[in-house]
Amino acid sequence: MSVAGASTYLRPQTLAEAFGALGPDVIPVAGGTDVILHAPVGIHTLLDLSALPLDYIRERNGFAVGAMTTLTGMLEHPGLAAHLDGVLAETLAHVGTSLLRNLATIGGHLARGRLSDIVPTLLALDATVTVFDGKPRTLPLAKYYADGLNRKRHLLTEVSVPEAGPDTAAGFLKLSRTFFDMALVNCACSVRLKGDRVAASRIVVGETPALGASAPSAEEVLTGGTLDADTIAAAASAAAESIEFGTDSRASAEYRKVLAAVAVRRVLNAIRNRFEERRR
């Protein structure tokens, strides 16, 4: 594709310069893969963010990933990829193929805010994002979307994944028609145990077809109990019941609801197996 109406290309060197340049006929370009296909009519200026110092992955109390890091960059970082039983590696391996991952950036992906296999995993890991809209501030990823920030004038500069101890395990599953496909539904969960009881959990279902819906009532089912087959099944049911699903050309709401329950159950079972493996 191409951005036919674009007449100006800017490549700011500082965050302030970049933010200052944003406007109604200006579109920020991270990897550019969405812009080149879907830039709205009326865009005249392409604002390339690649000169900003936002391509980094730092390990400090977890991981801080600069917004211009490509998905390949994330996959190839040994620590990040292996974090929490490789849940991010598993997730990223299902996002397109390396062709897309070599171009797409985490910042561009999160700011797009739709069609995502990554958002549910980041929500399940309690990720935070740092945005710059005059000054920098950090907020939970869930709030970033709940407040509609991704549609407001801002620049997303960093996403952070907190560290996790040996009492936490996570998992991800994508259900799709073919391997190279948008999900019918996807699911990411994390569970923290205290002893053999669930202290806390995150259960997130994505592509409902909305971005990523957490299921607190399902999380409540798990809290305080052991991670056994019946509890898991009950949590899966609760998740499917509590989330709103929609129909689109890929699947009906009814079918998505069924898939969601299956996905949650399978991810929680995988997490239970991980805990069991660690005990051995």
Binding site: A4, L175, R177, T178, F179, F180, D181, M182, L184, S249, R250, A251, S252, Y255, V258, L259, V262
Partner: protein, 771 residues
């Protein structure tokens, strides 16, 4: 059968392979001409409407726009876009630009401009006023009495019943079908529906046109049918055939979608009017919507069998959704019965009835399998049910019933390409051996003996058998010219059309075999109407069998000439000479090189150009045969179906190039798996295609497909060149029924509508109380 071939049956590298792996500019879009006009199509946003007015004035004002074509300034002549032999067995119901639009995507106008950008801008400014008509969006809607008439023009030709929206009808019967059913011990009836699917070649339709230095029109185009394209363009534009040249360079896949004259007429007219070259590239969306599709079918099959498994009565009733125009409608419809029913030739009672139906939807055209694919779905699944009812192994049931060498079927004579067929006796049929080899490689017995899975993933196995054809008897003609060079090499000129299939290589191998030279000494040049002799084109699985025989004949004539010259050199009788190892050898062992032979013929004595032209029209269409075995895993919690294993054992006669033959089978099967499980064009209530891109039209990729296993079973067709038949289409017929039967084995549900997508499977599982 000859003991050994030298070049035939060898895995030679494709003659165009080097150019392809090094990325040489060998495709239509890869050649640039100065001063090219870029063409953009304006298509109808409505499924059914009359064009009340078209105003192109604003479009013409866009800088760089040279021409806009509409119904107001183009020929009104009716024709068919179908690339078939003349007179085409398809109705003449199309016009270059009509005053009526009949599907979303139908032609409204074409803009030609200096740049693509200017053409796009101008296309958006073409102002059309439509009078909306009620659309007909399914077979059932089209058949309602009083339904809107899609082809109400008064100058269409050969439309069977326009008022009833039916361009074609086919019927035949043998024996008495009701009596047959009455005499049967078991009856099975099923009605199957197949969906709109698209060929999705990686290279969309593309055409260039220009005037050469002598002012002749040249069409440089991605086509399966260069000679038909020349003839049809000549007629539509009223230009003499001798003023047109059609060249097909390398093309990026076709599978039937390019057996059509879709772009050439517009490119030609713009070049003729402007004097300038043109380039027209379809977008991927246009490739889905505005080119051609698979014909959706509804087919009812009723079988009657005796308790020992012998089929006694076969009834097939086929309803074909041909979309907005009738191109290929009659012939695809006929094939649904013509290429399926003869397989079970011993049933004395047969009935076939078919109707093609117009709808205001994208247009069905030629697609690998060509109606047989749709017909095999109910036939092979009904047979599977017969096997179950009679407690017979489904393989055994096929063995009891399938046609054998030396046998015939009344169907061969009854249905042909749009008319009567040609009687034929099967001379080669290795279907038994295909069943043996296939079931062994697949592990049929072991898999069948497996205890049923009890977890959420249930495996199942299924099989099916098939035949197709090799060319169209008495109708297809192919010709080939060979000329010798003075280093002992040869030019091989064939009209035959290589779509990426490797026919240039296969035909080269046949020539090399006869002339006793390695393949690299044959310079193949194909599909140029100025230089290569006639060939109907690449369709109906005809190239190896029909064009190959023309090549063999031309090579034999050439060989005889070489023998005569060599005989003069060696002072022996020409009958004493054999060719081999680039030599002409006498029976006493003395030899001359081919180089020496041609030197003499060019420069020495009794000079003449060694070479010959030969043609071939087949009297028969010897079918290839196929036995397929599929293993699936059904996840009963999600409805997802995965193909774990797929074995295809095929009898294609001699495989001239085994690796290329395998490649044809592997590709056809992969396409068939997509057709069975995931591919479907989806329309909204206004006839608009909702998923006209490769992301939303789901085609299985390498991670979804098993390593498809193809076995080429030993066979020899006496009427074929070096014993060859064909292999191009048959593979695509296997997956739907084999997978349907395997799913039944896994979960006990028979699906009768493709694709067997996860939601559909899940709903059926829920309905059956399994999930």
């Amino acid at each position: 059968m000859p003991d050994r071939f030298n070049v035939v049956a060898g895995n030679e590298r494709k003659v165009d392979g080097l150019a392809l792996v090094t990325g040489k500019p060998v495709f239509v879009a890869d050649l640039d001409f100065a001063d090219t006009l870029h063409i953009v199509l304006v298509t109808s946003p409505h499924a059914h409407a009359r064009i009340r007015s078209i105003d192109v004035s604003k479009a013409l004002e866009v800088p760089g726009v040279a021409l806009v074509l509409t119904h107001q300034n183009t020929p009104a002549i009716r024709y068919t876009t179908a690339g078939q032999g003349w007179p085409e067995p398809s109705p003449y119901d199309a016009r270059m630009f009509d005053t009526k639009v009949r599907f979303v995507g139908d032609r409204v106008a074409a803009v030609a401009a200096d740049t693509k950008q200017a053409a796009l801008e101008a296309a958006a400014l073409v102002d059309v006023e439509y009078e909306l008509l009620e659309p007909v969006l399914s077979i059932d809607q089209a058949l309602v009495p009083g339904a809107p008439v899609i082809h109400d023009e008064d100058d269409a030709v050969d439309v069977w019943d326009a008022a009833a929206n039916m361009p074609a009808a086919v019927e035949f019967a043998v024996g008495d079908i009701e009596q047959g059913f009455a005499e049967s011990d078991v009856l099975v009836e099923t009605t199957c529906e197949t969906q709109y699917a698209q060929h999705a070649p990686l290279e969309p339709h593309v055409c260039r046109s220009y005037l050469d230095n002598d002012g002749r029109l040249v069409l440089f185009t991605s086509t399966q049918v260069p000679f038909h394209a020349r003839r049809i363009v000549a007629r539509v534009l009223d230009v003499p055939i001798h003023r047109i040249r059609v060249i097909k360079p390398r093309i990026g896949g076709a599978f039937g979608v390019k057996q059509e004259v879709l772009l050439e007429d517009v490119c030609a007219l713009i070049t003729l009017r402007s004097g300038r070259p043109t380039l027209w590239e379809f977008t991927r969306e246009e490739e889905f919507v505005a080119s051609r599709t698979r014909h959706p079918f509804r087919v009812r099959v009723k079988l009657g069998a005796k308790s020992d498994g012998r089929l006694h009565a076969i009834e097939m009733e086929a309803w074909e959704n041909t979309g907005a125009y009738g191109t290929h409608s009659l012939t695809v419809l006929s094939n649904a019965g013509a290429k399926t029913l003869p397989l079970y030739n011993k049933a004395p009672h047969l009935s076939f009835a078919g109707r093609a139906v117009y709808t205001n939807l994208p247009v069905g055209g030629a697609y690998r399998g060509y109606g047989a694919t749709q017909g095999y779905f109910p036939l092979e699944t009904a047979l599977d049910e017969i096997a179950r009812r009679l407690d017979l192994d489904p393989i055994e049931l096929r063995r009891i019933n399938h046609i054998r060498s030396g046998e015939t079927s009344p169907v061969f004579k009854e249905i042909g390409e749009g008319g009567e067929g040609v009687d034929m006796t099967i001379r080669s049929c290795a279907l038994s051996e295909c069943l043996d080899a296939g079931m062994e490689a697949f592990g049929w017995a072991e898999k069948r003996a497996r205890p049923a899975d009890d977890g959420p993933v249930r495996r199942g196995i299924g099989m099916s058998v098939h035949m197709q054809g090799s060319g169209i008897p008495r109708i297809d003609m192919a010709a080939s010219t060979i000329k010798m060079n003075d280093d002992g090499s040869f030019n091989l000129l064939v009209g035959a059309t290589d779509l990426g299939t490797g026919s240039d290589t296969v035909l080269g191998q046949i020539a090399a075999e006869v002339l006793g030279v390695p393949l690299r000494k044959i310079i193949v040049y194909s599909s140029d109407t100025d230089f290569t002799p006639f060939d109907t084109g690449a369709y109906a699985s005809s190239t190896t069998y029909v064009s190959g025989t023309a090549v063999k004949r031309a090579a034999e004539k050439t060989r005889d000439q070489i023998a005569a010259v060599a005989a003069a050199l060696l002072e022996v009788d020409p009958g004493d000479i054999t060719l081999g190892d680039e030599n002409a050898t006498a029976s006493d062992g003395r030899a001359v090189t081919l180089e020496k032979v041609c030197r003499r013929a060019y420069y020495g004595a009794d000079q003449f150009q060694i070479g010959a032209t030969a043609s071939f029209v087949p009297e028969e269409s010897p079918p290839p045969f196929l036995a397929c075995f599929a293993e699936v895993a059904v996840d009963v919690e999600t409805g997802m179906v995965q193909v774990l294993d797929f074995v295809a054992a095929v009898d294609c006669g001699t495989a001239i190039n085994p690796r290329l033959a395998e490649g044809q089978m592997e590709g056809a099967i992969a396409n068939g798996i997509g057709y069975a499980l995931t591919e479907e064009m989806v329309f909204d209530g206004k006839g608009r295609t909702r998923n006209a891109d490769l992301a939303r039209y789901k085609i299985p990729g390498p991670a979804d497909l098993p390593p498809i296993r193809v076995l080429l079973v030993d066979s020899y067709e006496p009427t074929g060149p070096m014993g060859a038949k064909s292999v191009a289409e048959i593979g695509i017929n296997g997956p739907i029924p084999a997978i349907a039967n395997a799913i039944y084995d896994a979960i006990g549900i028979r699906f009768t509508e493709t694709p067997f997508g996860p939601e559909k499977v899940w709903r059926a599982l829920r309905g059956a109380g399994i999930t």
